[in-house]
């Protein structure tokens, strides 16, 4: 038996204390950590089960916002009426990911903290700087169809695999965390990080910190949103490229644009300067192309994934068209509007 300790704390403070121990890992839905342990990619000494913590609710916040408890299952979040009415972009992004069974088990906090699906990360017989720092990156020069084209480093070209997080990035969510020094709030854009020289760190969570909630301020974009995901089969596959868009439009003018990309980087990818190009402008395909180019500035393939740069450009343009038209991509119909 792989002897690891298991703890199921009842309070956030206790959980934080346990998670501060070296070799401690959190488990909630277990849809990712268990796989990682089976394959030897994670070998925790202590598994801290968070499910007894009081983080199972979706709460109203001031101004029509919502606070999504970290332990609410992805499915319950997507099907919560308040979420699907106020943040349909988020609901659709969640439902574009995984399978019904996985979404029932996976939690919101776990979705943020899931790890990359890079083949080399999972195969302990191969080099991976994220799993075994200093061993090299197998994906560079290797099989890298699903890998990143933006924000990569010489150390790592892994992507963050979440769909939900792409929507959360576009919605300017905030991640509430509780740690040994109390609570802090992290802007969503600062939560995940780029690999840089230390790909072993996926995010900026410190040892002992627990995600307690994801807060969303009201963002009324009417029907001017979409989540468009391209993948290697029509369901149950991680995104090759996905894009979440929320626009505020006044008459013929875009007032505010939020655009986040998935499947292309170590974190959901946003470029606020590119979004700003849309503000105060009338929608127009040429403008969309300019925006896409700006978002993808510096994008670079690594062989198998070269196509992602052009694909991402086209997906952004198409999705902007969908959002402007107020015809969000539906999940049930795989035809892309």
């Amino acid at each position: 038996m792989n002897r690891f300790a298991y703890a199921r704390p009842a309070t956030i403070a206790d959980a934080a204390q346990l998670l501060a121990r070296p070799g401690a890992k959190a488990i909630a839905g277990g849809t990712n950590i268990v796989d990682l342990m089976k394959e030897g990619a994670e070998t925790p000494d202590l598994l801290v089960d968070l499910r007894r913590l009081p983080l199972h609710d979706i709460r109203e916040t001031d101004g029509g916002g919502l606070s999504l408890g970290a332990l609410v299952p992805n499915a319950d979040t997507a099907y919560d009426e308040r979420v699907s009415e106020r943040f349909p972009l988020l609901a659709h992004a969640i439902l574009a990911g995984a399978s019904a069974q996985l979404r029932n088990a996976a939690t919101n906090g776990g979705n943020l903290n899931q790890r990359t699906r890079c083949y080399y990360f999972y195969d302990t017989a191969t080099p991976c700087n994220k799993r075994a720092p200093g061993s090299g990156c197998g994906a560079i020069g290797g099989v890298n169809r699903i890998h990143a084209v933006l924000g990569t480093s010489e150390q790592c070209i892994a992507t963050h695999p979440s769909d939900m997080c792409v929507a959360l990035a576009a919605l300017d969510a905030r991640v509430k965390v509780h740690g040994p020094d109390g609570e802090r709030v992290i802007d969503f854009g600062d939560y995940h990080r780029l690999p840089g020289d230390d790909p072993s760190k996926d995010n900026t969570l410190a040892a002992g910190e627990i995600v307690t909630a994801i807060d969303l301020d009201a963002f009324d974009c009417g029907h001017n949103w979409t989540y468009l995901k391209l993948r290697d089969r029509l369901s149950y596959a991680f995104a090759l490229v996905s894009v979440a868009i929320a626009l505020r439009i006044d008459g013929d003018t875009i007032v505010e644009a939020r655009i986040a990309l998935g499947g292309v980087a170590h974190k959901p990818w946003r470029v606020v300067e590119a979004e700003a190009l849309l503000a105060g402008k009338a929608p127009d395909d040429a403008l969309f192309a300019t925006v896409a180019d700006r978002i993808l500035a510096g994008a670079r393939g690594h062989g198998d994934n070269d196509f992602k740069v052009e694909l991402a450009r086209r997906v952004i343009v198409r999705a902007l068209g969908q959002a402007v038209a107020g015809t969000p991509q539906t999940i049930a119909d795989k035809r892309i509007a």
Partner: protein
């Protein structure tokens, strides 16, 4: 004692639901790893971390010290076994020296099993497996077929490839005509040539390979195995362990998918047996999903095709030249290059097939081995030729239609492919197709209609079948073959029911047990025809034996009845023209005081028309809708018309074709095991990243079985359906994509990036 009839009888042609359906859906069907065994221990395989080289040291100290660990089996400490190639060659082994798990220190392929950790619990074994410290000396490897191609050789070893038999009326005998074929090709009005490729595919049945080995006090061996051939596993182990064949008993009643990967014994079988011998306790070994990528796969190929036609589209020359992957220790060869030359009329043919050794495990048969590779690529070339000539792709097939096997010259026992073309095209609405690519749209999407032809062999293998009427009134029909999920139990029940006039619930079909009457592995689509015909022989013999017994009863109402004068109806034998004169079969067996049984063997010798070609065909029509800008491909409609002789059960038959078509769609769009050639390792070795179609990828599939009476192929006129659904389907998808987009892709799978 008369048994009340509680269920109806069934006949060939009835859509009888699977007789094992309830067991499977309620979890009562035990698969290989499901059987509870007293005192069971658990073996976990340690897989090699390198692709080629040697093990220089194994330090199992930490693993041995882990709680619950019983033994660490390696090449260094395993008991001796027979080492001759001959015993390691299972019934369907290709030429060569089979891999011996834990045979020696040499590493021949990535994830090769290098140790088996056995413990009291699965969890303990799995953990200790991570503690076995193995040192290697790596050697350089080659896994890239384009690199290995230089070392390709003819699998027959004679330097040139030629089909088994050649047509005598050809102007240029086959196999020696390259220059002539090239000349004809160059002079022809229309030409297509190119290099076509297929990626490596892994079978990925849902059920993982699993074996439990139990050594009995008398020195015999009992095995639960996942296999398409219980007797193959049994003779394999008997040879290796120096036992008599009857000393090894293998049971495998159900299979969670095979697709050919269960034809040969996999390494968990030997590992369970050797470990159980060492520790003198039962051992169960189950592979991980990752390890399912460590053995057989459908070999990737490089297929060079050149075809030429005259103005009317009549084929003038075919060059069919293929290199497929094999391992360094066995020569796995498939019939790939012949299919095109057999199926179309053409006088100038040059065929060449070679295999190139790479540092992987030996590839193996996967659903329609050879034909699926060949025709799903060649039928793309045929579509190209149709556009080159400027005629409808279906018309091109009709122009080149042949009623004989164009290599052997033999006529077919039946070939209703023409009907299949017609009925499939009609149902699909093919006549409304606009020939030009990019001419059909639906909103933003481009619409493409493509078609292709599929061909598979109608094979027949010797099978012995036992029919036994038990004192409880149940009719057992049994052979050592397998139901690999296709419905063999069900069709055996139907045929026995019809032959014996017995209700379905009084028939007990038995398969998957090496002690049952002799049968080969279950594959090649030969099961239904071979077992079905042998079963009829057995039932016929049983009827005679039953009548004989019935006549001997005191005051028998059948005392003077001849076999032609009686009929078997409702669990009785009765006189046809005087049904009141009857004997209940259960009463008869009870009177006899024991079961009445017969065993009969059906063999290819029973076939008439030995000199005829036997094939199944499909004409498959596919609609795709393509979002060209984003490269998204949707298969929105499939119509396939299948000509496969007599259909025993339209319900299970349709399921077989649906499965084949879905797999064909996967071959076209999804399935690809991606190799890192630097590491010599398949990287997407899990079902999250090795994509097979999901429900969303599959829309309407309309299966037509065309009428194809065949009194020559075998007495029942059955042809088999396991493979035909995949053959041509991927090409039809590829051709539909061309029709939609004008983009011709010659490499499968066609992932979205190929259209960007």
């Amino acid at each position: 004692m008369a048994t009340a009839l509680s269920s109806p009888t069934s006949r060939i042609g009835d859509p009888l639901s699977r007789v094992d359906g309830r067991l499977k859906t309620t979890g009562l069907a035990n698969y290989a790893a499901d059987f509870p065994v007293e005192g069971l221990t658990y073996g976990v395989v340690v897989s090699a971390a390198i692709t080629k080289g040697r093990i220089t040291a194994i330090d199992a100290t930490a693993a041995r010290a882990a709680p619950g660990v019983i033994e660490i089996v390696t090449h260094e400490n395993r008991p001796d076994v027979v080492d001759k190639d001959k015993v390691w060659q299972d019934m369907v082994a290709p030429k060569g020296s089979p891999f011996r798990p834990l045979g020696d220190a040499e590493i021949r392929f990535a994830q090769q099993p290098v140790a088996l950790v056995v413990a009291d619990t699965f969890e303990a074994a799995r953990h200790a497996a991570t503690l076995v410290d193995i040192r290697y000396e790596a050697a350089s490897h080659v896994t890239d077929l384009t690199e290995a191609e230089a070392g390709a050789y003819n699998p027959k070893g004679d330097g040139t490839y030629s089909p088994e038999k050649s047509r005598s009326d050809l102007a240029n005998p086959l196999g020696n005509t390259k220059a002539h074929v090239e000349k004809v090709y160059q002079e022809a009005a229309h030409r297509v040539s190119g290099r076509y490729t297929l990626a490596p595919e892994h079978h990925n049945p849902m059920e993982l390979f699993a074996s439990t080995a139990i050594w009995k006090p008398d020195g015999s061996l009992f095995i639960h195995d996942k296999t398409q051939g219980a007797q193959n596993s049994a003779t394999y182990l008997a040879g290796i362990f120096g036992l008599k064949p009857e000393q090894v008993h293998v049971v495998a009643p159900f299979m969670g998918g095979g697709f050919g990967v269960g034809l040969r014994p996999q390494y968990q079988l030997f590992l369970a047996a050797i470990a159980a011998k060492m520790i003198e306790r039962p051992v169960k070994v189950v592979m991980t999903r990752q390890q399912m990528f460590s053995h057989q796969y459908r070999p990737n190929v490089i297929y060079d095709i050149a075809i030429a036609a005259d103005q009317a589209g009549r084929l003038q020359a075919i060059r069919s030249d293929c290199v497929g992957a094999t391992s360094r220790f066995e020569t796995f060869a498939e019939n790939i290059v012949d299919w095109c030359a057999r199926g179309y009329r053409c006088d100038n043919i040059a065929l060449d097939y070679r295999v190139a050794p790479v540092d992987t495990y030996t590839p193996g048969s996967m659903r329609a081995p050879g034909a699926a590779t060949a025709l799903n690529l060649f039928e793309i070339a045929m579509d190209e030729l149709a556009y080159e000539v400027g005629i409808d792709p279906l018309e091109l097939r009709l122009v080149n239609y042949t009623s004989k096997d164009e290599i052997s010259g033999q006529p077919f026992t039946s070939k209703a492919l023409d009907k299949a073309y017609a009925e499939g095209a009609e149902r699909f609405g093919w006549s409304k197709r606009v020939h030009a690519p990019r001419a059909m749209t639906d909103g933003r999407e481009l619409v493409g209609w493509g078609m292709a032809t599929g061909v598979w062999e109608t094979l027949f293998q010797a099978h012995a079948v036992r029919a036994r009427l038990r004192p409880d009134g149940v009719l057992e029909v049994a052979t050592a073959s397998a139901d690999i999920g296709t419905g063999t139990y069900t069709i055996m029940t139907q045929i026995a029911s019809e032959e014996m006039g017995m209700p379905v619930d009084r028939i007990d079909a038995q398969l998957g047990d090496s002690t049952l009457p002799k049968a080969p592995v279950e594959g090649g689509s030969w099961g239904a025809a071979s077992i079905g015909n042998a079963l009829v022989l057995a039932c016929t013999a049983l009827k005679a034996k039953l009548l004989k017994a019935a006549r001997k009863i005191d005051d028998s109402p059948l005392a003077n009845a001849a076999i032609e004068q009686v009929e078997f109806v409702g669990g009785q034998i009765r006189v046809k023209n005087d049904p009141a004169r009857a004997i209940d079969l259960t009463d008869l067996v009870t009177t006899e005081g024991g079961p009445i049984e017969v065993e009969e063997t059906g063999s290819p010798k029973m076939l008439e028309a030995a000199k005829k070609a036997r094939n199944t065909h499909q004409a498959v029509f596919v609609e795709v809708k393509v979002d060209e800008q984003l490269g998204q491909i949707r298969v929105t409609r499939v119509v396939t018309a299948v000509a496969a002789g007599r259909i025993i059960n339209p319900k299970t038959a349709r399921s077989q074709i649906l499965g084949g078509v879905v797999m064909g769609i996967g071959m076209a769009l999804h399935e690809e095991t991606m190799m890192d050639h630097r590491l010599g390792r398949f990287m997407n070795h899990n079902l999250a990243e090795y994509h097979v179609p999901a429900h969303a990828d599959i829309a309407d599939i309309d299966v037509i079985f065309v009428d194809e009476p065949d009194h020559e192929v075998n007495p029942l006129g059955i042809k088999g359906l396991g493979e035909i659904g995949i053959v041509g389907t991927a090409a039809a998808v590829a051709n539909a994509i061309f029709h939609a987009t004008g983009v011709r892709v010659r490499d499968l799978p066609i992932t979205s990036d190929r259209l960007l």
